[in-house]
Structures are given as structure tokens and as C-alpha cells.
């Protein structure tokens, strides 16, 4: 079976994308991952008050807003040379971890499960592909019940952000300098009860359901595989100084695990809708302008590379680094690692609630310097997230963002080497090109967020070298 197959829109992802595949003898011979969605956040940030960056950049993404707030807060703190008090660090960790739990629960049930379990024959479950739903009826029905429960559970996770930050998404609780809700007895009790509810759901339903699906679709431990190239930035700092992290920042390759050097990151534009200026550059080293319709380009997502190679981020990368999970690099491994990480995060939130000190400060007041620069790196729901700000005359003069989805969903680079999702799709057998259900399953194992994927780097200044 030969031919071209285009899946557009890719749904059950944060915003829509496109996957184009070329089939040879029933298998994916070639593939292009595209993102047709562009906003220009970095341009809009210019001229704004640096203190606004956490709230403003949260608006990049409705499902992972706490991660953007965190990266922006880190960048402002780097700029101002300030750190939160111990309590502030813990509270912000609770906010980010709870948002990650919200993301993982929603992603697994609302986005992934409909690829494996058939919902009732009504919207939003129908119409759908009609092939390859393998679960026995009673198991299928149970998982669909959990699908609906998952919406309530992800709301409980959002409620943790609401208790500590007024609302969710776009919580107000993560600020440069710390957090804003003092951890009194009532708050700690409330959060403890909510996280207990999350943990029960994750342990009793989500993890077993993931294993049930993995058992019924075992070939997905082979499909969606790609070379061992994983990247994480430090996720959830142990100390306010951010010297140590609960999930350390590392680069993982066959040759071993290393520290991350931001200086090794480049961004390539050959196949992205941006005007090229010579050789691939480091983030922030070259001006970039949008060029819709550029010949040879097929995505608004640029191609970040580490030492010239494509790396993937996300729960699998993090659990590989901590040693919690190292079975393999496949579609199902990504899904299993994500549900396991959800449980680990619930346990961490419980631990942090015990560590909070009543009546101790939660926020460090500070002055924003008129000039300077700041770098904020954090692990996010889908992988490594970078925010960089340059400030002149008390206002943001340049802002750079490299998101996890830019890494995972990047198009080809200048050498023609594919991005991680493209690598993962090549070789996948497609049984029915009219209903390419296999493609969506593999894409969704990466937890696509097209809203985050497209960002541009503008400006001429070199990003200072930074060892994570």
C-alpha cells in the first residue's frame, strides 16, 4: 500500500496540528509534523513590565499555564537576584505539581483513552474511526466511566491551584518572589484532603487503566520508538536557591547521562516559516521574522537541537533520569511513565504539605532592576521549558521562549534530520490509510501542545552560557 495520508486537524491535543505521512508497503516511510498556528508572544512581551511576565506568559497555554508562570518567575528572580523564602518555594512547587497532575489526568483520559476505548455513539465520541478497538465491553465501559470521572479529578487538581492562586487555569499564585497564600492549618488540611482524592484516583484507576490498555495493545511498546535522546531541565526545586531538583536537569544519550549546557542548544529554521539568516544560531543570537508561505517550510514550529540532534522531553525523560522507569522509548512507555509520574507528584505534594512552616514568610519583596537579563529554566508537563528576558529601562526589551513541544514536535533541521515525533512515526504499519488510528496514538503519546509549540526568538544578543 503506497500513498500520502494527511491528518488535519490532529484533535485531542492542545490546539490543532497536522501530520502528513508517506506510506510504502503499508508502513510510514516518511512523515512531516506541522503546526499551523502562530501568535508572536515574544514580540508582544516587548515593552511590558517584567513583573507582568508570569501572568502574561501563562496565557501561552491553557493546560500548562503554571509551567510558564514558573519559568517566567525564575527569569525575573534571576534578573533581580532574588529568591523566594523556603515556604514560597514549596508553595510554588505545589502549584506546579498540581497543574502537572491536572495535565496528566486530562491528557491520559480525555486525549489518549478515546484512541483505545470506544465511547458511546454520541458526541464528542462519535463519529470516529471504526477500527481496532480491542477492549472487552465491560472493561471498555469501566474505562469510559473513568474518562468522565477524570474531568472531575482534573478539576480537583485545578482546585489546589485555586486555593493557592485564586483561579485556574492562569493561577495568580506563582509570582517572582514567591507565593501569596499563607499556609495556615485550614489551607494545609484542605490541600491534604484534595491531594488524597487525586492519589486514590491515580493509584486505583489511572495506573491500572494504563496497564490494561498496554496489555490489550502490546505492540505499542515497539511502535513510536526512537533513539535514546532525552532532555530535561530541573523540575521542582528542592531548595529556593535551585541548586537541586526533585527531577534533575540532564541530557540522556546512549553514551550516558550529562549535565545540560544551554550553550549547546541551537534553533534551526530551514523547514519553519521564518526567514533564515545564515547558519543555525543559538537562541537569541539572530533576529527572526515570520515568513508565511516560505518555500520548503511546513511548520510554524522551529527546530531546537542539542549538539545538533533532536531530543525529546516529558515524563519518560524525567523518570529515566531519576531511574524510576527505563523499560524503553516507545508510545506506550511514554504513556506508562506519565501515569507513574502523576502518582509520584501526588506523593511529593503530600510531603511538601508536611514541610510547610506556619507563620514563616512566603514572599520576598524585591525591586526590579532597570537593566539586565534573566534566564528561567524548568521542567514542564511535556519537557524542558526555557524563558529568557532582557530588560532595558525597566521594561522588557526582548523575551525568548523555547517550549517542550517545540522540542518534541520540531520539523526537520537544516541537515534534513527529522524531529522526535517524525522519528517516532517512521516505520509504523498503517492497516487502513482511510482510518490511520495508529498515527494519532503515537502522536498523542508525546502529549502534543500545539499552542506551546510555536515561538520565535527575536533579537541579536547572545544568550549567556548557563549550566543547569
Amino acid at each position: 500500500m503506497h500513498g500520502e495520508v494527511v491528518v488535519n486537524p490532529v484533535t485531542r491535543a492542545n490546539n490543532q496540528g497536522q501530520i502528513e505521512i508517506r506510506l510504502e508497503r503499508g508502513k510510514v516511510a516518511d512523515c512531516r509534523s506541522s503546526c499551523f498556528f502562530f501568535r508572536g508572544f515574544e514580540i508582544m512581551l516587548q515593552g511590558r513590565d517584567p513583573r507582568d511576565a508570569p501572568y502574561f506568559t501563562e496565557r501561552i497555554c491553557g493546560i500548562c499555564s503554571a509551567a510558564h508562570a514558573t519559568a517566567a518567575a525564575f527569569a525575573v528572580e534571576d534578573l533581580a537576584g532574588v529568591r523566594p523564602p523556603e515556604n514560597g518555594n514549596i508553595l510554588r512547587n505545589i502549584l506546579l505539581a498540581a497543574d502537572t497532575v491536572q495535565n496528566h489526568v486530562k491528557h491520559f483520559y480525555l486525549f489518549v483513552v478515546p484512541d483505545y476505548a470506544a465511547g458511546p455513539d454520541r458526541p464528542p465520541f462519535a463519529p470516529r474511526y471504526r477500527n481496532d478497538y480491542r477492549l472487552p465491553p465491560e472493561v471498555n465501559a469501566r474505562i469510559i466511566r473513568h474518562y468522565f470521572e477524570a474531568a472531575d479529578i482534573s478539576r480537583v487538581a485545578h482546585e489546589i491551584l485555586t486555593v493557592l492562586g485564586g483561579k485556574a487555569p492562569f493561577t495568580h499564585g506563582i509570582l517572582a518572589g514567591g507565593a501569596t497564600v499563607p499556609p495556615d492549618g485550614a489551607v494545609i488540611m484542605d490541600l491534604g484532603a484534595r491531594v488524597q482524592k487525586l492519589k486514590e484516583f491515580v493509584q486505583n484507576k489511572m495506573i491500572p487503566d494504563a496497564h490494561t490498555i498496554a496489555g490489550a495493545y502490546p505492540e505499542y511498546f515497539e511502535l513510536g520508538n526512537r533513539p535514546l535522546r532525552l532532555l530535561n531541565f530541573g523540575f521542582l526545586p528542592v531548595d529556593p536557591e535551585r541548586k537541586r531538583f526533585h527531577f534533575p536537569g540532564k541530557v540522556v544519550e546512549e553514551t550516558g547521562m550529562r549535565e545540560v549546557s544551554v550553550a549547546s542548544i541551537t534553533e534551526e529554521l530551514r523547514h519553519a516559516y521564518f526567514r533564515e539568516h545564515g547558519e543555525p544560531g543559538q537562541p537569541g543570537t539572530r533576529p527572526t521574522e515570520a515568513q508565511p508561505g516560505k518555500p520548503g517550510a511546513y511548520s510554524w514550529c522551529k527546530a531546537p537541537r542539542y549538539n545538533g540532534k533532536a531530543f525529546e522531553g516529558g515524563p519518560l525523560a524525567r523518570l529515566w533520569i531519576t531511574g524510576h522507569y527505563r523499560r524503553g522509548i516507545s508510545a506506550m512507555d511514554r504513556i506508562i511513565a506519565r501515569v507513574l509520574e502523576t502518582d509520584i507528584l501526588c506523593g511529593l505534594i503530600e510531603k511538601w504539605l508536611d514541610e510547610l512552616q506556619r507563620d514563616e514568610p512566603i514572599f520576598t519583596p524585591f525591586e526590579v532592576p532597570g537593566d539586565g537579563e534573566g534566564l528561567g529554566l524548568t521542567g514542564a508537563m511535556r519537557g524542558p521549558l526555557l524563558h529568557y528576558m532582557c530588560v532595558r529601562g525597566g521594561r522588557i526589551s526582548r523575551y525568548d521562549i523555547i517550549t517542550p513541544s517545540a522540542w518534541n514536535f520540531s520539523p526537520r533541521d537544516a541537515k534534513g534530520e527529522p524531529g522526535p515525533v517524525e522519528e517516532a512515526l517512521v516505520g509504523t504499519p498503517i492497516k487502513d490509510p482511510e482510518q490511520p488510528i495508529e498515527v494519532g496514538r503515537i502522536i498523542r503519546s508525546f502529549d502534543p501542545c500545539y499552542a506551546c509549540a510555536t515561538h520565535l526568538i527575536a533579537g541579536n544578543k547572545r544568550l549567556h552560557q548557563f549550566i543547569v
Binding site: 484533535t11 511590558r48 507582568d52 464528542p124 468522565f148 483561579k167 495568580h172
Partner: protein, 330 residues
């Protein structure tokens, strides 16, 4: 009652309003899709993808008039022939958000803009608006019901859709927002209003007093957050978490309400001229005048603390206060 069909387009958006909608409590997500509405299309939630998804939309475009309610979440980018946002492939070519919104709005019973981006432009049309993004009301000619908020509260979304399906159009304010949810200002219903009256102000985020001095936009923001609370389960709201309201339901959000941590009379934005023009159009302008007069009166009678008086010294020349002072004289 027949379930109203909902076609929910996510254009240039972060998806935050869909995620907020999923936080609905009574009715919750299950009740919404099983009992209240047929959520026929939503990019985040539809099991359909690719051609199967496009067929759903195609059927609505070619189907009977007024058979569904169109929800649009996100701005509609108009620069670069709309290529900044592609919704799918139609008739063998990329189908832009501009086309999608127009094609579907032509058949819809109601057009509802959910979130501040779709309603007013919001963050994705922020200065200098690199994608030429516009709110839905500037893309189609028919009236649009606006349900702003960044994100919109789940009750505002579900409540508006329910009202439309069951009783028709709710009473709307001058910005086409349902008065039901956006009828009064945050400031008028704020649980910390007594601190404002007494001149007890927070000096930094995290303090349990009035947030006015650290930038609260409650006085010019119309929404019922103080009494409704977030998320679905109504547990807290931004001022309750000791942070200022940032005015996210306002037509001028975010440019007209930034910096978020600067108090109202000091409005300064990257688009200074734009903002200066816009201030005159601020939805809460009447309230702003009201509060200005109120404050000025209090300052004159010496009821407010030394700090706030000092704070206002630098803001003496702002239009709002000048006008307030003039009114006071008259």
C-alpha cells in the same frame, strides 16, 4: 428539552477556555455532554480527527439553518491571508480561521465568543498584534454574544449556553456580555471593600488587605468573581488569594490594564497612545469616575491614610482624577 448542538471552534487560542469549561461543577462535564448539550465538535475533546473531524464541520456548513450554536474560542488572525491559524483542509486547501468562523457563523443559531480573545482580542491581539488578530465580532456581521474572561468561568460559559438554548438571548450590556454574570464591578461586590473604605491597603502580594494599591483592576472590571469564586467548585478567587484582579473580562485586557501591579491611575502600557485612547473607552469608565470621585473626596476630607495620599501625589494629573476633582468642585 432537545439538546442544543454545539460546534466549538478553537482558533488562535491557548485552549484555556475549554480547560476552564471542563472544570464545570453542576452540571459537570459528564452531565454537560450527556444531558445538556451535544458537543458535536471541539478540537480538544472530539474523538474524530483528520477527515472524520472535517466531515462533522462540513455537514454543519451544508446543513439546515439555525441547527446549532457556534462557540468560538480565540482570536481570528487576519494578517498573512489568515495563514497564522489553519483549522484543517477544506476543498483541497488550508482552511483558515477567518473562513471557518464565517462559514459556520452563516448557519449558526447563535454565535458565542468565549474568552477575552474571541470577545475583544485579548492577549492574542495584544500590542503590537503581530498576527493582525481580531475578535469574532469584527470577522462576522451578525451579533456575537461575548462571554469574556481569561479564562471565562465555567459557569459563565455553560450558563450562557443554557440560557440561549432554553430562553434565548439573555440581557446583554453595551459590550454584549450577559448582565447575569457581568452586570456589576468586582469592586462593588468585593469581600475586601471595607478595607478599601477604611484605607487599609496591601503593600505587596500575599497580604490580606485591599489590593487597590498593588494594582487591583476590580474598580473597572465587570464580573461576579467575588461572589461566584473559582473554579467550578467555587473555592477562591484572585483577590482571595491575596493578589490583584487583573481585569481579564475587560475589553481593554491586557494592554489597558497593565502593568498588572500598578494602581489604576498610573495606566502605562507598551502601547501608550493606544492605551490613552482606550482609557476613554474603558468599559468601567463610569465606575472609574465614581471611584475617582470617591477617593478624591476621601483624600480631601482626610479620611485616607498618609500612604495613599502620597501614592496619589504622583497621579494627580491623570484624567480620571482631574475629572473627579472638577466634579467635586462643581
Amino acid at each position: 428539552m432537545a439538546r442544543e448542538k454545539i460546534v466549538w471552534l478553537i482558533t488562535n487560542s491557548c485552549g484555556g477556555d475549554t480547560h476552564s469549561f471542563l472544570n464545570a461543577y453542576f452540571p459537570n462535564y459528564r452531565q454537560i455532554v450527556e444531558e445538556y448539550f451535544d458537543l458535536c465538535y471541539n478540537n480538544h475533546l472530539s474523538a474524530a480527527e483528520g477527515n472524520v473531524a472535517m466531515d462533522i464541520l462540513e455537514d454543519f456548513i451544508n446543513g439546515p439553518e439555525r441547527a446549532f450554536t457556534l462557540v468560538v474560542e480565540g482570536t481570528v488572525p487576519t494578517a498573512a491571508q489568515g495563514l497564522f491559524c489553519i483549522m484543517g483542509y477544506r476543498n483541497g486547501r488550508p482552511w483558515t480561521a477567518v473562513e471557518a468562523v464565517r462559514d459556520l457563523a452563516a448557519k449558526a443559531r447563535y454565535a458565542v465568543a468565549v474568552g477575552t480573545c474571541a470577545a475583544f482580542g485579548g492577549p492574542y491581539a495584544a500590542h503590537p498584534n503581530p498576527t493582525g488578530s481580531k475578535p469574532v465580532s469584527q470577522i462576522i456581521t451578525r451579533p456575537v454574544i461575548n462571554v469574556p474572561g481569561c479564562p471565562a468561568h465555567p459557569d459563565w460559559i455553560a450558563g450562557t449556553l443554557y440560557h440561549l438554548a432554553r430562553y434565548g438571548e439573555p440581557r446583554l450590556d453595551e459590550y454584549n456580555r450577559p448582565v447575569l454574570f457581568y452586570g456589576e464591578t468586582i469592586h462593588d461586590r468585593c469581600e475586601r471593600r471595607h478595607y478599601f473604605e477604611s484605607g487599609i491597603f496591601a503593600a505587596k502580594p500575599g497580604e490580606p488587605w485591599c489590593m487597590y494599591r498593588i494594582g487591583c483592576k476590580g474598580p473597572v472590571t465587570h464580573a461576579d468573581c467575588p461572589v461566584r469564586h473559582w473554579c467550578g467548585e467555587h473555592v477562591n478567587w484572585p483577590v482571595g488569594s491575596n493578589t490583584p484582579c487583573i481585569g481579564c473580562t475587560s475589553p481593554e485586557f491586557p494592554d489597558g490594564v497593565e502593568p498588572f501591579f500598578e494602581r489604576l491611575p498610573d495606566l502605562k502600557t507598551p502601547a501608550v497612545k493606544v492605551a490613552a485612547d482606550r482609557v476613554g473607552l474603558v468599559s468601567g469608565v463610569a465606575t472609574a469616575l465614581g471611584i475617582g470621585a470617591h477617593l478624591a473626596a476621601n483624600i480631601l476630607t482626610g479620611r485616607l491614610g498618609q500612604t495613599i495620599r502620597k501614592g496619589f501625589a504622583g497621579a494627580r494629573n491623570t484624567g480620571v482624577l482631574r475629572k473627579a476633582a472638577r466634579q467635586k468642585k462643581e
